[in-house]
Symmetry: C2
Subunit: 200 residues, 2 copies
Amino acid sequence: VTSSSPTKPLRADARRNIDAILEAATSCLARDPDASVNEIAKAAGVGRVTLYGHFENRAALVAAVVDRAVAESDAAMSDLDLAGDPVAALGRLVETSWTLTYRFGALVVAAEQAMPDAALMEAHAPLSKRVELLLERGRSEGRFRTDVPTSWLVTMAHAVVHTAANAVHAGELAADEAPHLIATTMLGIVTPPDDAVSAP
Amino acid sequence: VTSSSPTKPLRADARRNIDAILEAATSCLARDPDASVNEIAKAAGVGRVTLYGHFENRAALVAAVVDRAVAESDAAMSDLDLAGDPVAALGRLVETSWTLTYRFGALVVAAEQAMPDAALMEAHAPLSKRVELLLERGRSEGRFRTDVPTSWLVTMAHAVVHTAANAVHAGELAADEAPHLIATTMLGIVTPPDDAVSAP
């Protein structure tokens, strides 16, 4: 925004390279969580030196890919209707989270191997905010348990979706079973003590 | 067991080195999940060459430390009474899992960074078997939900304990809150649809 004219062409060029690298990295990591920087550079049609000029190392590249995936998911989620019964809304929210996560394939596996857990949670902040707001509403309406911190329930929402994604990639779970499992599990987690668990 | 006498002294020496390395690695990784192979070799009082003679790389060493931690935990769990009400028994089992996991400190963080999720689950097989048997009993007695696979509930038991351990190491959760959160969360997950969630 504050760039002076002489540097603009270079910046546009750099921006195109960065976009191509992130696009290629997203595709490569979706197929193979162990995709190397060399493979990604090749798929992006740039040299290794160019790639390392923009991303210090593989971990920094994976982190940037995750940020981009989260931003895309957040944009897709903005269309989601989270009004009405909090239980039904939570079902919709976690099923959509699953669909968006699954779209990025093995990137989840790559991210969990390249990034510390805390950094991964931090990258998910925009999505976590949506979950948090719905959980707070459900708590204030007496539908979700209030004897555990909201932050724990948000952490568990993330853990349930990512555990399912990992199980699918490990071949332990069929992808089409995941949405139901995620929704039932999350509803069990949020149900207040002595209340009946909702059948989804 | 099939070794011939001439190699025995060397083998005893190697065994002592391996034990010292695993002991040092367990302590180092409990404090710092990013502890290097050099630090671990130094703490074990062996040279780098000796360490690499026994463990091909850092990931192989972390995997061996995890196997050892799981074996120790499994031995400790053999004393646990899992008879009687399955709900109460599950509470005892997950609280003990937490205590054992927490004893190994930041090793959980190191393991999740160095090992793929599937390999980590595989390493936990002896502990998972105990959880599985109790879940199966609770299902046959109508206390735990049967509309999701037992394998998913086992995976979630592992995920809940490890999510709590990561949250404690990230400073997001107080260690003394973890046992209660883990037990309440797991009881919510296993409650059959339309049944009331047990207050722990």
